[in-house]
C-alpha cells in the first residue's frame, strides 16, 4: 500500500516535471502551442484566481459561519432561512419575474430593431448605431436619474400625464414604482440584446430568405419559417445575457427602489443588518443559480455566450 502511494506520488511529480519541462523547452509544435496558450492566458488566470476564485471560496466558507460577523463554526441556518422564510422567497420571486419580464420585453423590442438594421439600407446608419449602443455604457444610477427626470414627481412626462388626466403629478409619477424601474432597466438591456442579435443576423442566409419570398411567403412568413430558426442561437444567447444581467440589477434599483430584489437585499444585509454570513449565503445562491442557468441553456444551443 505504502509502496503504491510512493509510486503514485512519484508519477505525479514526474508528470508535473514533464509538463513544466515541455513549457520551458517545448519539443513539438503542439507543446509550443500549449506554451503560447499558457502565456496568453496567464495574466487573466492570475486575476481570476485572486479576484474570482479566492473571494468566492472565502464567501462560500463565510456563508456557513455560525457568527454573523466572523468566520467560526458551521451552520446551514442562512440557507434554510432563504428556503423557509417567506421574506426571502418573495425577494427571490421578485428577482426572477423581473429578470424574466425584462428579458422577454428587451428581446421582443430588439429583434425588430436588429431586423431593420441588418436587412434594410438605412440612412445615417452609423449615427443610429451610436445612439442605440449608448445605453450600453450608461451606469444604472444615471439610467435611474433619467427616469426620475421623466417620470418623477416633477418629471416632464408626469406633468404631461397630470395635465391630460386631471390628476395630481404625484399620483401619476411612476419613477419609483415597478413600472419606472422596468422602463429604466429595459432601456439599458435592449442594446445588449441588440449587440448579440445583430451578430447573428449577419450570418443569416439571405438567399434562403429570398427563396422563401419567391415561393410565395410574405415577409412575415419568411421571418417565421426561415429567419427565426436561423437567429435562434442569437435569441438564446441574448436571453441568457439579458436574464443574467437582470438578476444582477443593482444601481438602478438602489435609486428607484420600486422592487426589493436579491442584490438589493444583499446590500441591506451588509449595510443595515451587518449580517455578512447571510449576505454570503445569498451571494453564493445567486452565483450558483446564474452559473447553472447558463450551463443549462448553453447545453441546448450553439449560442456563443460565455459562462
Amino acid at each position: 500500500m505504502a509502496a503504491d502511494q510512493v509510486s503514485t506520488g512519484t508519477r505525479a511529480v514526474e508528470s508535473v516535471r514533464t509538463t513544466v519541462g515541455s513549457l520551458v523547452s517545448p519539443a513539438s509544435e503542439r507543446q509550443r502551442e500549449i506554451r503560447r496558450i499558457v502565456a496568453l492566458c496567464l495574466p487573466f488566470s492570475v486575476l481570476l484566481l485572486f479576484s474570482g476564485v479566492f473571494p468566492l471560496t472565502e464567501m462560500f466558507r463565510i456563508s456557513f459561519s455560525e457568527s454573523r460577523l466572523v468566520t467560526e463554526g458551521f451552520t446551514v441556518e442562512y440557507y434554510r432561512a432563504m428556503v423557509t422564510d417567506p421574506y426571502y422567497r418573495n425577494i427571490a420571486f421578485n428577482t426572477l419575474w423581473f429578470a424574466a419580464a425584462t428579458t422577454v420585453t428587451s428581446i421582443a423590442v430588439a429583434v425588430p430593431v436588429a431586423h431593420a438594421l441588418e436587412k434594410y439600407a438605412l440612412p445615417a446608419k452609423s449615427v443610429i448605431l451610436t445612439v442605440l449602443s449608448f445605453p450600453n455604457s450608461l451606469p444604472g444610477i444615471v439610467a435611474a436619474f433619467m427616469i426620475i427626470i421623466l417620470f418623477g414627481n416633477t418629471g416632464i412626462l408626469s406633468n404631461v400625464f397630470a395635465f391630460l388626466s386631471g390628476q395630481s403629478r404625484i399620483d401619476v409619477a411612476i419613477a419609483t414604482s415597478v413600472g419606472g424601474l422596468f422602463f429604466a432597466y429595459i432601456y439599458s438591456m435592449i442594446p445588449r440584446a441588440l449587440l448579440l442579435l445583430r451578430g447573428t443576423y449577419a450570418e443569416v442566409n439571405t438567399d434562403a430568405e429570398e427563396a422563401a419570398r419567391v415561393l410565395g411567403a410574405t415577409p412575415l412568413q419568411t421571418f417565421r419559417y426561415v429567419t427565426l430558426p436561423q437567429i435562434k442561437p442569437g435569441l438564446i444567447g441574448a436571453s441568457i445575457l439579458v436574464f443574467r444581467t437582470g438578476l444582477a440589477i443593482f444601481g438602478t434599483v438602489l435609486i428607484l427602489k420600486g422592487l426589493l430584489v436579491w442584490t438589493l437585499q444583499i446590500d441591506r444585509e451588509l449595510a443595515q443588518g451587518f449580517n455578512i454570513a447571510q449576505a454570503s449565503a445569498m451571494a453564493t445562491v445567486w452565483f450558483v443559480f446564474v452559473f447553472g442557468f447558463t450551463v443549462l441553456m448553453l447545453r441546448y444551443t450553439s449560442a456563443e455566450v460565455s459562462i
Binding site: 438567399d207 434562403a208 429570398e210 427563396a211 419570398r213 415561393l215 410565395g216 411567403a217 419559417y225 436561423q230
Partner: protein, 343 residues
C-alpha cells in the same frame, strides 16, 4: 407557363447603371440565357424579373400583365440559386412542399406533388434528409424540385452549376436541359459560362456593362456576333483589322474576296474562329509562339507575317509542332465574318 418580357428596363443604383434600357422577350416554354462577364448586369436583370428589384424605368410583363411593382411572393416565380439556398431547418420534403404550402395547396396534394418531383429528379430517397447532409449536386436537384413545385410562370436559374465539379456539371447540364425540354417551362438562365448557355438555351442574350449587346440563337451568336465584345466573349475569336475596297478584303498580309455584302469601302474588323482556319497548307506562314495542350485538341498562338497574333486550333495529331516552328495556314472567305466598321 407564360411569356415574360422586359420592356426598355433600366435599373440604377445611385450613379451606377446596372441594367441600361434592356428589352428581352421570352416566349412561352423557351429557355433564354443571359450571359456576360461579372458585373454586366445579368443577375440584376434576373432579380428584376423575380421582383427583388424594381426597375428605375421600363416595364416587366408576365403574359402581357404588368408585374413591375408586384412583390416577389405574388409573382409565382421559381428561383434556383447558385448557393442552393435550401432551408436547413427543414427536411428535403418540407423544402419542396414549402412553396405549395405558401400558395395554400392542401397537405396531401403538396406532398404528392413533392414526391413526384423528387422522383422525377431521382432524389426520392433523400426526402427525409436534412439538406446540410447532401452533396452539391443533390442540393441543386432539391433546389430545382423546390422551385418547380409551385408550377411557376417562369423558372429563374442563377448560375446554378457554379461550384460543382466539371464532371457533375456536365451530367447535370444534360439532365437539366432534358428536364426543361420535357416540362416546357419558360426559363431564364443566367450564367457567365457561355458553354453552358450555348448547350442549354434556345436563345441567348449577351450583356455587357448593363447593355444588351445581342440576342439570338446560340448559332447566331457564335456565327454572326454583332460586335467585337460578343465575338470575344462567346468562343475564341481572332479579330483582325482589314480594309475593304471594291469587293476585296485586304488583311495587310493577304487579300481575299469579301466574304459577305459590305455596304461601303473602308476599314473593317474581321472575325475568324480558330476552328475555321485550315492548318497545314496555304499561302500564309505563321510562326508558333505558344502551345496549350487541352486534351481534345491543342490551342496554338502564332505570329502572322505582319506581327499580329493569331489563335489556331491544332489536331492532337500535330504533336510534332513545336514553339518556334513555322506552319502554313489559309483563310477561307466563307469563314470570315465582318462584324463592324472600325471607322
Amino acid at each position: 407557363m407564360s411569356e415574360v418580357s422586359l420592356e426598355r428596363v433600366t435599373k440604377r443604383f445611385d450613379s451606377t447603371v446596372a441594367v441600361n434600357d434592356v428589352s428581352i422577350d421570352i416566349d412561352d416554354g423557351e429557355v433564354m440565357g443571359i450571359v456576360g462577364p461579372s458585373g454586366c448586369g445579368k443577375t440584376t436583370a434576373l432579380r428584376l424579373v423575380a421582383g427583388f428589384e424594381t426597375p428605375t424605368d421600363g416595364t416587366i410583363r408576365y403574359d402581357g400583365d404588368d408585374v413591375t411593382h408586384v412583390p416577389p411572393e405574388n409573382r409565382n416565380v421559381g428561383l434556383v440559386f447558385q448557393s442552393y439556398a435550401l432551408f436547413n431547418n427543414m427536411s428535403v420534403l418540407k423544402n419542396v412542399t414549402f412553396g405549395p404550402k405558401m400558395h395554400g395547396v392542401g397537405k396531401e396534394e403538396r406532398r404528392e406533388r413533392a414526391h413526384e418531383l423528387l422522383e422525377l429528379l431521382d432524389i426520392e430517397e433523400l426526402a427525409d434528409r436534412n439538406p446540410k447532409t447532401l452533396s452539391g449536386g443533390q442540393q441543386q436537384r432539391v433546389g430545382l424540385a423546390r422551385a418547380l413545385a409551385i408550377e411557376p410562370h417562369i423558372l429563374l436559374l442563377d448560375e446554378p452549376m457554379t461550384g460543382l465539379d466539371a464532371k457533375l456539371k456536365q451530367t447535370l447540364r444534360q439532365e437539366l436541359g432534358q428536364l426543361l425540354d420535357d416540362l416546357g417551362v419558360t426559363t431564364l438562365y443566367v450564367t457567365h459560362d457561355q458553354e453552358q448557355a450555348m448547350s442549354m438555351c434556345d436563345r441567348i442574350a449577351v450583356m455587357n456593362e448593363g447593355h444588351l449587346e445581342q440576342i439570338g440563337t446560340p448559332a447566331e451568336i457564335y456565327e454572326e456576333p454583332a460586335n467585337e465584345f460578343v465575338a470575344g466573349f462567346i468562343g475564341t475569336a481572332n479579330l483582325l483589322d482589314g480594309t475593304v475596297r471594291d469587293g476585296t478584303l485586304s488583311l495587310g498580309f493577304e487579300d481575299v474576296d469579301t466574304p459577305e455584302a459590305v455596304a461601303s469601302n473602308g476599314a473593317v474588323t474581321v472575325l475568324v474562329r480558330p476552328d475555321d482556319i485550315p492548318v497545314g497548307s496555304g499561302p500564309i506562314d505563321v510562326e508558333v509562339t505558344n502551345l496549350f495542350y487541352q486534351g481534345e485538341h491543342i490551342q496554338a498562338t502564332g505570329e502572322l507575317p505582319d506581327g499580329r497574333e493569331l489563335t489556331l486550333r491544332l489536331d492532337r495529331s500535330e504533336t510534332a509542332v513545336g514553339i518556334g516552328d513555322t506552319i502554313s495556314i489559309d483563310f477561307d472567305p466563307e469563314s470570315l465574318h465582318i462584324i463592324e466598321s472600325t471607322r
